[in-house]
Amino acid sequence: MGYKLNFSVIWKNLPLLLKGAWLTVEVSTGAILVAILVGIVMGVAKTSRHQFLRFPAAWYVEAFRNTPLLIQIFLIYFGLPQIGLKLSPFMSGFAALVLYTGAYNTEVVRAGLEAIPKGQIEAARSLGFTEIQTIRYVIVPQAFRISLPALSNNFIALLKNSSLVSVIGMVELTFIGNDLTAWTFRAFEVYGAVTVLYLALVFSLSWILAIIERRIRLLI
């Protein structure tokens, strides 16, 4: 008895799969944008001279980078309601993705800032740049350029990690895939289609990021 492939289940359910893919895009795009902010704020805090900024940032990174994302999702969705904070599946998944990727972004931003030689800052100051001008014209452009490729990696990881939020009933691409498999029992066809859709999403994202990297390279 051979297993006969039957892809009609994919064509029949394509609108459903695309709807799921769209929610994946929504939650990932939102989380990427907010995670950039988190990365910048925490990255700057982590390189600060002040302990009261540096320590919380360091603890944040250690807490979220050293625990599984899946556990963070469960903790936020199932755990927080018991101490009085109930977030929707979307907000829970979104928050977990932002906090998790934000921790990685923090380290990338910190590395970008620390990669700028002290001599450049000293040179800028001796040329008469104010502190703000030094940051604006010397530190930020270079740190950004250095950080961008590593940030891109984090964004791609985020897009793929978003599949984990299917466990809290968020009807994104992986959830649809699991549901279709549960009812059509066509694991190869369904997960194959889901794989192709993820591939298309990640390729699109890398392509956009490559364009941004190129633009920024021309700009600064």
Binding site: F78, P81, D179, W207, A210, R217
Partner: protein, 274 residues
């Protein structure tokens, strides 16, 4: 940047090539002729897919051991096969992945509180019925919800791949289903107020509610009652016949009744009747 652009294309074609290759390989797999019964006997143990979160059919006890009605049946089968109830390997499955597990040859038999359904019977073979179950609703105490008809337009918690999920989709299309992969997660979600009711098999809910002072079970008599069956891969007539004989033997010898009383004694009166 140029480097990246230059490389993107070969990767893309590579991916397509790999997928085409896997397709061809899967199409060309030789038909495996051996009947599951022969495989099991040659292996010296039975591999059964059981639930780990579905009391009293299959769950994990205080000692961390798989236990339940289905597990006892699996052990009885092992005793019939090898004279030793321990010659069975238990694999935890969920409602959503039990059939892929069977079709994917990870397990020999599904012993996992599975309702006999025509769409499932297209993919696997069912044994004779061994249990009868309908659906009830678990709600928070004092809830105005009394039956599934009250769920229109409401948030309803269901288990992915379960008949409860299927029937809510069919019978109450306006309900918003919130779906999880484990019964334990469904229960937690109901307690957290993520939905107004958790729709599942009567026998499970009646057992779960015993430990839940804030929840109650409503919706009697159970709706959409249907028999449970064991599942085996299609094309294994010898194994299917053996399973049905084993069930008959259990009923004749009285071990089925003993297990039924052991696991369902308390709630038997409230269950769906054939």
């Amino acid at each position: 940047m140029r480097l990246m652009r230059g490389n993107a294309r070969p990767w893309f074609y590579g991916a397509i090539f790999l997928m085409a290759l896997s397709l061809i390989v899967s199409l060309g797999l030789p038909a495996l002729a051996a009947d599951t019964l022969d495989e099991v006997k040659a292996r010296g143990k039975l591999i059964a897919g059981v639930k780990a979160d579905f009391p009293p059919f299959g769950f994990i006890d205080e000692k961390g051991q798989n236990t339940g009605f289905d597990i006892d049946i699996a052990r009885e089968f092992a005793r019939y096969l090898f004279g030793d109830p321990n010659k069975v390997e238990l694999v935890a499955v969920t409602s959503a992945n039990r059939i892929p597990n069977l079709v994917g040859r990870k397990i020999d038999i599904i012993l996992a509180s599975m309702t006999i359904l025509p769409e499932r019977a297209e993919v696997i073979d069912f044994s004779d019925p061994y249990f009868y179950s309908g659906h009830l609703l678990m709600v928070r105490k004092g809830s105005p919800i009394k039956s599934y008809q009250d769920l229109a337009g409401k948030k309803v918690i269901t288990l992915q791949g379960s008949t409860g999920d299927k029937y809510i989709k069919e019978l109450v299309p306006t309900a918003e289903r919130i779906t999880f992969t484990k019964n334990s997660e469904c229960l937690l979600a109901l307690k957290d107020g993520r939905g107004v009711a958790f729709v599942q098999d009567d026998v499970l809910l009646l057992n779960m509610v015993k430990n839940e002072p804030t929840l109650e079970v409503v919706g009697f008599p159970p709706f959409k009652p249907a028999p449970y069956g064991l599942g085996v891969r299609k094309g294994n007539p010898k194994f299917l016949a053996w399973v049905n004989d084993a069930l008959k033997k259990m009923k004749k010898e009285g071990s089925y009744d003993k297990l039924y009383t052991k696991w369902f004694g308390e709630v038997a009166g409230k269950l769906a009747k054939p």
